[in-house]
């Protein structure tokens, strides 16, 4: 598959352990890559190096084969960017601003912009300075998408949007993705990445901890169940069966087991012999995946 953005061994050290270190990350054509990590982990710095706003200390970043620092301006022909912190240039209204951005980008046909405005229910005629945070966010999203670029880079685009708008926004992003665009989006909300991304990269303390395919998480061969028994004998007897117990809470007569999906039927058959107080499947989410990774990382 064609690598649209390729980050190779990139380090940008701001000192005091801050910055990004040895980042290796590729984004393939037509793919949507999520980028998640706690505050200060290096998400924005990574995005800024891709945008050519920051020059890496070492390593290389290419976008469509062009150097992100040297060919920064040329790359922008293919990129739409929503910055993490939004500040607008001095324009009176949203409309003025959007028109100017269209002029900057050489876009003459504003019909796509109008579609986005409608979809996000934005009133662009409002005074730019008096806009609410959500309005500003929407305006910024329209500004970065209106040129219909092949690559879209979004730095926490959903902050400030109310839940309904978040859905509208994600719809737009999904539609963009369906058009075959390459999307790189950072966020600290696991669910929205889970719903939209093909892959998600986790960054912590400036280093990529893991990159997972969401398919692998959704289609795991094993699943976890938490089972509580009414009496202690049943609990003790069950434990003697050949199940892989990952958590054991004696005081509550509770066990958590992990089991291959094709053995679930066998489990239920076994359970008919015991008095079960409750049984619950514990979903394996991205958040859980990463939390476990980070926990393990801390132990190491």
């Amino acid at each position: 598959m064609e690598k649209v953005i390729e980050i190779k061994d990139v380090t940008k050290d701001f000192g005091n352990g801050r910055g990004i270190f040895d980042i290796d990350l590729s984004i393939y054509k037509g793919e949507m890559l999520g980028f998640i990590g706690p505050n200060g982990a290096g998400k924005t710095t990574t995005i800024r190096t891709i945008m050519g706003f920051i020059k890496p200390d070492k390593g290389s970043i290419t976008v469509k084969g062009m150097d992100a620092w040297k060919d920064s301006a040329r790359i922008k022909q293919f990129v739409g960017y929503v910055p993490g912190e939004i500040g607008f240039p001095d324009y009176k209204s949203g409309t003025d601003f959007l028109k100017a951005i269209a002029e900057f980008k050489g876009v003459k046909d504003l019909s796509y912009a109008n579609y986005l405005i409608e979809k996000l229910q934005l009133d662009p005629s409002a005074n730019l300075k008096r806009m609410s945070k959500g309005m500003k966010q929407k305006t910024a999203i329209v500004a970065s998408l209106l040129a219909d670029n092949d690559i879209i880079i979004l730095d926490e685009p959903t902050t400030g949007l109310d839940p309904l708008m978040r859905v509208s926004f994600l719809d737009i992003i999904k539609a963009e993705k369906a058009k075959g665009k390459t999307i790189f989006m950072s966020s600290h909300v696991y669910e929205e990445l889970e719903k939209t991304c093909d892959r998600v990269a986790l960054i912590n303390n400036g280093r990529i901890v893991d990159v997972v395919k969401l398919d692998d998480i959704k289609n795991r061969k094993v699943t976890d169940f938490k089972i509580e028994f009414t009496n202690r004998d049943d609990y003790l007897n069950f434990k003697r069966l050949n199940y892989q117990i990952i958590r054991d809470q004696e005081t509550y007569n509770q066990v958590t087991i992990t089991i291959e999906k094709d053995r679930i039927k066998m489990l239920f058959n076994d359970l008919t012999n015991y008095q079960v107080k409750f049984i619950a499947e514990i979903k394996y989410t991205l958040e859980r995946h990463f939390n476990e990774l980070i926990k393990r990382g801390e132990v190491i």
Binding site: F53, K55, D90, A100, F104, S144
Partner: protein, 524 residues
């Protein structure tokens, strides 16, 4: 190399400040020029200058009166004495026989081949000294005037002798022209004395000199600072006469006092000795009595007053006070604000992210913003130039400043602003935070302006009476000092190389700013 939409954005965003600053500056400039032209702000100064001229003429009249009086008085006394002696000799002491004897003998001797000298020797041989002198004096007279011994002829003879002697004396000290003038003056004076029938020389001179000088001075004119000044504009004939007369009278009084003092001091001196002692003091007495007001003041005070009288208020106010200080203040504020808005402000707020996430190169951004800043200043100063020229055409000659000087002032002010804007622009390109960009670029620029204001009090354009020399050191730490309004007003070319330095500062700071912005990390 210029991004049209970015230029439009900058122009729109900063239009308000620009219009405000330009309008206020133009209005201030127009008011200053028109006020200076219309109201006589230099009235006090003018009357001072007037007073100095009046004072100078007055002391000149007094001096000349005393000098001429002294000369006339002495010459007339001399004349009187010589005339009386000679007339007495010709008509009383020598009788007709003696005169004829001397003449005939002298003629015979010359016919026998004796020279004039030898003939005189024969005639005066073995005679007492008194006779020798009388015979020689008589012969001298006879050789010029013949055998006519009337008062008129004798007077004519003495007059000639005296004027010739005076001519020689003055020729030695003051040259041909003065000698001729003195000769004519004295012969006229003696003739007037003779024809007046007066018997008191001193009284005659006291009245005669003022009446002559009143006509001479009344027609006199001289140039002062390229202006022709007629004495008749300041003094009437009667006033000149009065001045002259009272100067002579008090001069005479002083001479009398001095003479009495000398007599007391040297009781055994003869009259002649006393007179020669007195003569030594005459020059200094005249000088002392004809001091001008400025001469009578302490040197520093009189220098300060002269300077104040010479000061050109309008050029000082327009050139130094307006173009170099108050007229720079608002453009500097505009530049500090705008330079910050153009780069650092947009990086700080994140607005630059939108521009730089379009296919616009950083270099293009900086060059566009630079072009906006420079063109905004250029248009501002073109409008100020027009304002100044129109204002000057309204008041015209009332102000001593030319259109060329105004053009030079405006051009220099623009180039000064170019350098200042370069500094602010560099600061804006250097820092990512508005507050640093503003405080470094703006702070430095404001410091320059404040130093210029303080330095003004030590600069030579300020009258020495209120100048504080030590304050001039402030001029050495401000680049605005390179805007040499003084040189422009005085018409020298010193301002040119200083402008070149300013231009260079502007160029360098803009180039470094553009380079720095191209290379630095941006938090966008």
């Amino acid at each position: 190399m210029i991004s049209k939409p970015l230029y439009k954005q900058s122009a729109k965003a900063n239009l308000g400040t620009w219009v405000f600053v330009t309008a206020i500056n133009c209005i201030m400039l127009a008011i200053i020029i028109i006020v200076l032209g219309r109201l006589s702000v230099s009235e006090i100064r003018d009357s001072m200058a007037d007073m100095f001229i009046r004072d100078a003429i007055e002391s000149n009249i007094e001096q000349k009166s005393m000098e001429y009086y002294n000369l006339t008085d002495k010459t007339l006394i001399n004349y009187e004495e010589n005339f009386n002696n000679l007339y007495d000799l010709l008509n009383v002491r020598l009788n007709t026989f003696q005169k004829n004897y001397i003449i005939n003998t002298y003629k015979n001797l010359l016919q026998q081949g004796y020279t004039d000298e030898e003939a005189r020797q024969v005639l005066t041989n073995n005679q007492p000294a008194e006779y020798q002198l009388a015979i020689n004096t008589f012969l001298n007279y006879y050789l010029v005037q013949g055998e006519d011994y009337s008062r008129e002829k004798v007077s004519e003879y003495i007059l000639n002798l005296i004027t010739e002697e005076l001519y020689k004396q003055v020729l030695e000290t003051d040259g041909e022209e003065a000698a001729q003038t003195a000769k004519v003056f004295i012969s006229v004076a003696i003739n007037a004395y003779v024809s007046s029938g007066s018997t008191n020389v001193t009284e005659f001179a006291t009245n005669y000199i003022p009446s002559v000088l009143q006509d001479v001075f009344h027609e006199q004119s001289f140039t002062n600072k390229n202006k022709t000044i007629n004495v008749s504009d300041y003094f009437t004939k009667a006033r000149i006469y009065e001045l002259s007369y009272s100067a002579i009278v008090s001069f005479r009084a002083e001479l009398e006092v001095k003479e009495n003092q000398l007599r007391e001091k040297y009781p055994d001196y003869t009259d002649e000795q006393i007179q020669s002692e007195l003569e030594k003091q005459v020059t200094s007495i005249i000088q002392e009595r004809s001091k001008t007001l400025l001469d009578s003041l302490p040197k520093k005070v009189s220098e300060a007053l002269t300077e104040l009288g010479d000061m050109e208020v309008s050029t000082l106010v327009i050139g130094t006070i307006f173009y170099r200080i108050s007229g720079l203040l608002l453009p500097i504020i505009f530049v500090i604000m705008t330079a910050n808005n153009l780069i650092a402000g947009q990086v700080d707020s994140g607005a630059m992210a939108f521009v730089l996430s379009t296919p616009t190169k950083r270099r293009k951004v900086t060059i566009t913003q630079m072009s906006y800043l420079i063109s905004a200043l250029l248009v501002m100063y073109i409008l100020m130039t027009l304002t100044s020229i129109i204002s000057l055409s309204i008041v015209k000659d009332a102000i001593k400043i030319t259109y060329i000087q105004l053009l030079k002032l405006n051009l220099s002010a623009f180039i000064t602003m170019l350098a200042i804007s370069g500094i602010c622009f560099l600061s804006s390109c250097w820092f990512n935070r508005s507050k640093y960009a503003m405080s470094i670029g703006g702070g430095l620029t404001m410091f320059f302006l404040v130093a210029t204001i303080l330095g003004l009090f030590g600069s030579p354009v300020i009258p020495s009476a209120i100048r504080i020399e030590a304050m001039r050191y402030f001029n050495y730490v401000s680049i605005i000092t390179l805007f040499d309004t003084n040189s422009i007003i005085e018409g020298t070319n010193n301002y040119l190389w200083k402008l070149l330095i300013l231009l260079f500062i502007g160029l360098i700071t803009y180039i470094i700013g553009i380079k720095r912005f191209n290379e630095k990390d941006l938090p966008l």
